[in-house]
Structure formats: C-alpha cells, structure tokens
Amino acid sequence: MKRFEVLGTGCKKCVTTAESIERVAQELGESIEVVKVTDPAKIMEYQVMSTPAVAVDGTVVHSGSIPDHAKIVSWLKA
C-alpha cells in the first residue's frame, strides 16, 4: 500500500491537496494511506521550500501547488 504524505504547515491548499489525492484514489479503486505532515522539522528534512508538497513512500514528487488530476493518477499508477 502506497503511503502519501502531504507536506505543508496547515494552509487551505494542503487540505485540498490531501482531499484530491484521496478522491482520485477512490475513483481508481486504489487503497492508499494519506498523512498530513505539518511539523516544520519534518518538512525541512524533506528539503521542501514551497508547499503544499507531496511525498510518495518517502520521496518528494511534487511541490509548490495543488497537483492536478493527471499527476495524481500517474503517482497512483506508478
């Protein structure tokens, strides 16, 4: 099961990002785990400077905006 982490200090965009990942996963019938990471120290470890960012199984795949549908699908399919 893939583990998605949404990195961000808790702004609205981060919530939207987590929700859209969950929604797309449901559409595709994939079961995944989505966690919101708000701890600044953790975000620093990932070396992310613009949020919201997304990490899949510990690797950052996206940062700085709400990811679009196609991108989320590509992470789920990969």
């Binding site: 200090t9 808790g10 620093m44 400077m49 613009s50 949020t51």
Partner: protein, 338 residues
C-alpha cells in the same frame, strides 16, 4: 489609453446614474468606478505578462543565487528576491527553514521575508497607476531598505542564537559544511519550458492571485473613494498638523492592529496623501499595516523563540518610524509638484 476608464466612469456616474460631479456621492462613486476598472484591467494584463517571464524562477534557484553572494550583496539579493519571488505566506516557514538549512544567514533570510509582503507586482502596478512613477520608485527603495537594514541589525546582534533548537542545528551544520567546501554551490538548472507551459503557468497564477486580491481591491478603493468624496481637501493637514514628529509613531501604532495586504492599503494611501497627510506618515502607516502582521508572527513562532520574535517586531517598528521621519523631512523636494 487609460483615459478610457475616466470616460467609462463619467458615463456610468454622471449620465447613467444621473449623479452630479458637484456632490460628495458623485465624486466618490466616480472615483470608485474609475479606479476599480482601471486597476483590475492593469492587474489582469500585468500579472499574466510577469508570470510568463518568471515561470522558470523557482525557490531552489533563488536560494542558490543568494548563497553565492558575499554577505553585503546577500542582503541586497535577499531583499530583491523577496520582492520579485511569488510566494504565499503559508510557505514562509518551509522557506525560512530551506534557507537556514542551506547556511544562509538569518538576516538575509529575514531581508527576504521582510520585503516580500511590502513589494510585489500587484503593489507596484497599483502604486504606479494611482500615485505615479516617482512615488513607486521611492516605495520600492524604501521597502528594500527596510528589509536590508532589518536583516543587518538582526545579524549584528547574532539573532540566530534565539532560533528554535532544530533550526539552529540545521544552520550550524550547513555553516560547517560550507567552510569545508569553499567552492560555490551548484546552480540548479532552469527548467526548460515550452510557451504552452509558460502560458499555463501564467494563467494559473493570474487566476490564483486575482482570486485572492479582488476583494482587497474593492475594499481598498472603496475606502479610498469614501475618503476622497467625504473628507475635505487638506483636512489632515489642518487637524493632525503638517508633519509633527509624533504623527509618525501614531500612524505606525494605528496600522498595527489593521492587518491588510498591500493591495488594500495603497488606494487608501493615495486618498490620505491627497487629503494632506504627510507622505512619510502615510508610508509609515502603510508599511505597519502590511509588513507587521500578527498571523505572520504567530507562524514564525514555530522556528524562533519569543525573544527573537519580539526583537524582530521592535526592529520593524523602529524602521517604519525612521522611514516616516526621513521621508517627511525630505519630501518637500522629493515630491515637488506632487
């Protein structure tokens, strides 16, 4: 070409609504229509064009630029990039840590964060269209100076002592690392973008920025319009004195509890100046409203001790007051004919 908006406002206010330009209501509504249509038009065009140009500018590259410079140039670059880099205030903590963990001195990072809310393309466009290029230029110089001087003071008192432990440790590690590798860090390559991608980026930026600020434009211009129509010319000069020293700290304090972004304050600024508030006092008020915001400070609490926050707060307020006094003193020749 911008006279088009005056004609539009004339037609809507005087012909369609049948108001007289002699009445207070008539002047206010005319001002509101002319300025909102003009500003919104300029914003749509300029935000799109600027976003096209900076589609390939990301924070990693900005950081590498700032890292390469020596200390003194660093403050200048920190503040300059703070002005031109798009970034939302919810990203300020990751940005702060990203800079700090790369060994960028606290003062340079803070120069970036101080200047960022004061100067951005929206503020510049609005100032330009409402107050002219001279004032815009002075505003940019002052905004950068506030960031640069604030950053220098922070470093001169070794502000990094009061960072939260994890942030201080990250900074120490990076500093040691930098001493062992004297060569400059590698510059991340600029992403190669097709025009289609740039257009997409610019379109998204436009939608996002406009969606965030349109109500501030309406509120700001609305307040400005009310001041314009209902406060007699020269009222401030008569009632608050013309540039007494205490009007500046009073303006800074008055701006504190008001939390707005530059978009909302600039139209108000224009009206205040026209009604006789001294330019320096007005600027001090504007900076205090825009740059010293409590939400921002509460966020920074995650990486700084309370003591450091308090110091930063005092430095900022002191800077605003100095700006106010200096500009009041030199404005007679700086803005002659203004």
């Amino acid at each position: 070409m911008l006279e088009l908006f005056t004609s539009l406002a004339n037609w809507l206010t005087y012909d369609l609504m049948g108001l007289s330009p002699e009445t207070k209501l008539g002047t206010s509504i005319h001002f509101f229509i002319e300025d909102t249509t003009k500003i919104l038009f300029l914003l749509v065009v300029m935000i799109y064009v600027i976003a096209l140009a900076r589609a390939s500018l990301n924070l990693e590259r900005v950081r590498a630029y700032i890292q390469q410079k020596n200390r003194l140039v660093g403050y200048f670059f920190g503040s300059g990039f703070g002005a031109i880099t798009p970034f939302c205030s919810c990203s300020s903590i990751p940005l702060f840590l990203g800079f700090t963990s790369a060994g960028i001195p606290l003062g340079i990072t803070m120069a970036f964060l101080f200047t960022s809310p004061i100067i951005n393309e929206v503020a510049v466009i609005m100032l330009w269209s409402l107050l002219g290029w001279k004032f815009t230029l002075a505003y940019i110089v002052i905004g950068m100076a506030v960031g640069i001087v604030g950053g220098m003071i922070l470093d001169s008192i070794k502000g990094e002592r009061w960072l939260k432990d994890f942030a201080a440790k990250a900074y120490q590690n990076a500093a040691t690392e930098a001493r062992n590798h004297t060569d400059n860090p590698e510059m991340p390559e600029a992403p190669k973008l097709t025009f289609q991608e740039r257009h997409q980026f610019a379109k998204d930026e436009l939608k996002e920025i406009l969606g965030r600020i349109w109500k501030w434009v309406l509120i700001g211009v609305g307040l400005g319009a009310a001041l314009h129509g209902f406060v007699p010319d020269g009222w401030f000069a008569e009632n608050l004195g013309s540039g007494q020293w205490w009007s500046v700290p009073a303006a800074v304090l008055a701006g504190l509890p008001l939390y707005s972004n530059a978009t909302g304050v600039i139209p108000v600024m224009e009206s205040l100046i026209v009604k006789g508030l001294p330019v320096g006092t007005t600027l001090a008020f504007c900076m205090s409203t825009v740059a010293a915001s409590f939400p921002e400070f509460i966020m920074l609490k995650q990486v700084m001790s309370f003591r450091l926050l308090a110091i930063i707060f005092v430095i900022l307020l002191a800077n605003f007051m100095v700006v106010g006094w200096v500009i009041n003193a030199i404005s007679p020749w700086l803005f002659s004919g203004f």
